[in-house]
């Protein structure tokens, strides 16, 4: 069972029915049972053992930290290590082994790159729940949050089924009150949640899935499809990634809203950003916030960084003392961000690219402003604002090219061909021929249908985006309208999904890109 399936909708309806029909004091228990059942249906049941280990270790860790304040730090580090090691072992062992064999192969003929590997199955949503548990543990250590005495409630926080597979990563202090509270039936919650789920299905099936075949084909055959195709593929992938992940979040947040539980937002019109830094404040917001709270700020406050700041201040002055440690901490954050996306150098490359762009953005901000002033360019005009948005998307596109490319080498090859003028010109001439080849590769005559779907989908998504940028999101705005408008919008969304969505035989819309982390 996956989030974008008929069985998930049925499952959600059953849990909702029990949730509102049974006494409200049992609501959190129903969610816990529902979440466990979801894990068994959607994941590999045996891997639930990792989830149990994580919950038990954190529960006992926080319990002992409270009981034995003198050993608090030791207990914290020990519990933290259990969870980090589990995450690293399940997610990065093969990456580590590949690199060891790659280095080993240079010194010994008996070792070949990729010789060693393991077939461990990571538990469902490990990248998300591990971060939540580490965050909770750290908050308890810092004394920000009081430890949860009820292990069942802690387990629910860890595996709450709408958010377990793809996030968002919620802070315990933000979620707990709503998650464990008793909720009365509210038709408005169902309306808002329902519209949001529809919105998610629309983004996923009408836009993201329609693009999957084309994007995958272009990236897999990058040697053949170079020059202009790198730009086309990357622009389409940017759209696919956003529609896929934000669609997934709409389903997650919509499902949770039906229970009356508000989860943290993960997107806020990211393509309206005028800098890479701003983009990451609007895209996958919960991960960015987690990395800041639990990696960047602790690093900045660490004694090593304090010493570095002092030394830099004495040697290079105040400005350098402020900037260099910040950039160094940001480097660690972006390295982790890349690594979080997967065990591969291309993911790390992606992280470093974004770090570089943010650092350059900050360094060049003032000089560019004064250059604009000298040239009498109004940096605040609508045109310049749009230009900045396009420029930001361009830089983001290059970053995600690393993310999608089959390897780091492939990413550099693609970027090389994208900026090679002669290849660009040569590839433009073959667009017609390549389109028909692509059409037969993804399914005859499907490219026209995909193009129509994506064009309509994009227009609707811009409409969603315009509302998302405002304070009131699209699903909230629509659910407040009168019955007839709600009926019309709901009907149009369902019909669009049925006729324009990529699903059924020949399609596999079961996975979300971010569900793989």
């Amino acid at each position: 069972m996956t989030l974008v399936s008929f069985s998930f909708i049925c499952f959600l309806l059953i849990v909702l029915l029990l949730y509102y029909l049974l006494p409200s004091k049992w609501q959190w228990v129903i969610l816990l049972f529902g979440s466990t059942a979801f894990y068994m249906l959607a994941g590999t049941p045996i891997t639930f053992i990792y989830v149990i280990i994580s919950i038990l270790s954190v529960y006992l860790g926080t319990h002992f930290m409270e009981k034995k304040p003198n050993s608090k730090k030791k207990i914290y580090v020990f519990t933290l290590l259990i969870n980090i090691l589990m995450l690293v072992a399940l997610k990065y062992t093969n990456f580590i082994l590949t690199n060891i064999t790659a280095v080993g192969s240079r010194f010994s003929d008996n070792i070949h790159e990729g010789d060693w590997s393991v077939k461990w199955i990571a538990s469902l949503g490990i990248s998300f729940y591990a971060l939540q548990m580490i965050g909770y543990l750290t908050d308890c250590y810092w004394g920000i949050t009081a430890p949860q005495k009820n292990i069942g409630k802690l387990a629910l926080y860890n595996i709450y089924f709408p958010q377990m597979v793809s996030g968002p990563i919620n802070k315990y202090s933000n979620l707990s009150s709503s998650l464990f509270a008793e909720h009365k039936f509210d038709a408005n919650n169902l309306r808002e949640g329902g519209f949001r789920i529809l919105q998610g299905f629309f983004k996923k099936l009408v836009v993201s899935e329609q693009l999957t075949g084309i994007v995958d084909y272009l990236y897999a055959n990058y040697a053949e499809y170079n020059g202009i195709y790198v730009w086309i593929g990357t622009a389409l992938y940017l759209l696919q990634l956003y529609s896929d992940f934000s669609g997934c979040m709409d389903i997650v947040l919509g499902a949770s809203k039906c229970f009356g539980i508000d989860l943290a937002e993960n997107f806020k019109a990211p393509f309206a950003s005028t800098s890479v830094q701003e983009f990451w404040q609007r895209f996958h917001m919960s991960l960015g916030a987690w990395l800041k709270d639990y990696i960047m700020y602790p690093l900045m406050r660490s004694s090593a960084f304090s010493k570095m700041t002092k030394k830099l201040k004495n040697k290079y002055g105040k400005k350098a003392a402020k900037m260099i440690p910040t950039f160094a901490a940001m480097f660690v954050v972006w390295f982790c961000m890349g690594l979080w996306h997967g065990g591969g150098w291309n993911f790390i490359g992606e992280g470093i690219w974004f770090w570089l762009m943010i650092v350059l953005g900050q360094l060049l901000e003032k000089p560019l402003k004064s250059l604009g002033k000298n040239l009498h360019i109004n940096g605040e005009s609508k045109f310049m604002h749009s230009l900045k948005c396009v420029g930001t998307s361009f830089l983001i596109g290059i970053g995600i090219l690393f993310f999608k490319a089959v390897s780091l080498r492939a990413a550099f090859t693609m970027i090389g061909s994208a900026f090679n003028l002669s290849r660009l010109i040569a590839s433009v001439g073959t667009v017609g021929e390549s389109l028909s080849l692509l059409d037969s590769s993804i399914g005859t005559n499907r490219i026209v249908w995909a193009a129509i779907s994506v064009a309509i989908g994009l227009a609707v998504m811009i409409l969603f985006g315009l509302k998302d940028k405002a304070e009131e999101r699209f699903h909230v705005y629509i659910s407040k309208k009168n019955f007839w408008i709600r009926l019309l919008v709901g009907y149009l969304l369902i019909m669009s999904i049925i006729f324009l969505g990529a699903y059924g035989p020949g399609y596999s819309a079961s996975e979300f890109i971010y569900g793989g982390f």
């Binding site: 249908w449 009926l487 009907y491 019909m495 049925i498 006729f499 969505g501 699903y503 059924g504 035989p505």
Partner: protein
Amino acid sequence: MKNKKVIKNLIRIFVVIALIGVTLWGMVIVSYVMRPISHSRQNFCGFYAEPDNSLDAVMIGSSSCYYAWQPLRGFNEYGFTSYNLGSDALQPQSIEYEVKEIIKTQSPKLLMIDLRPFQYGNVMSNSEDSVNMERVAPFRNVSDNMKYSMNRYEFIHKAAPTAEDEWTYQIDISKYHALISELFSAENWKYAFNSYPLTAKGFWYHYESRIIEFDPRDNKEEYAALNDKIKDMFISLLDTVKLECPDTEVLFLVMPHKDYGKVEGVYNSLYKIIDEYGYDYLNLMDYMDYMRLDRLYDFRDGDHLNLSGATKVSEFIGSYIDMRYNLPDRRNDSEYENWNECYRTWNEEMSQVQIIEMDYD
């Protein structure tokens, strides 16, 4: 005030129900329009377009049957009405449900059933590469062309290949919704209600001729083991026919095909079961010389006859049915005047067909 609110809510509920109804109806039509036109599709639509209880005989078979039996020749020469409910690469599991589909609107006095699907099912189920019964396309040739009904639901639920999810067969718009371009084809809209008359009553022809080398029939008396699945399926079909249409005669047919000699044992085992049930079978391989079927001229390939071969086979089957089964003569029945019309149109078309000899080099 309260009454006003109740009325308002009732109107809303009525509108939603009406909208759902109209949408479902519209989606059924659109899904019919979106699927590509094929011989299988046209044969099913043609069958549904026949007036209720107007057919004296119905043939269920694969392409080897609909390229062989000419219902209009049977009508013109012997006066009985018949129809070829044929679909490409028919699978054995489909036949039982086709019988159930037929008797919903027709009360045929004779059912002609192709035996070849059971031969293919038996042989190919044992092969390593492709298992005929698990192929999706031949299954969809039947399931996607049947009208939505409980019979169709059961057919899919019990017999669909596992390569695709059951719901994708049941709600087949999931398969065809990508073919938006079909909506702009006027030809497709003719089949919007899954019913459109077919002049030739399910017969299609080939005009090519090729030389066919038949496998020798060395093991004429041998009985080959039927695999359990095929045997159960065949017995289930016979039981269904006995139970659902006790007054209907059944004739199992084997059309001429080149590899018969290799699989004769399978057919012998099937004949034995047919005998036990007291039904008839007609192995046309035994009458090749009698029909003057020419392996140098009357075949399109090893599995299919061309128009010349089909005419010879139809003349033989027609006279066989006329002699053996007491089917009515409708030629002068005013209610069947359109059959005479169809024959004239069809015969004119057939008379202009020229057989082209291929690969004689």
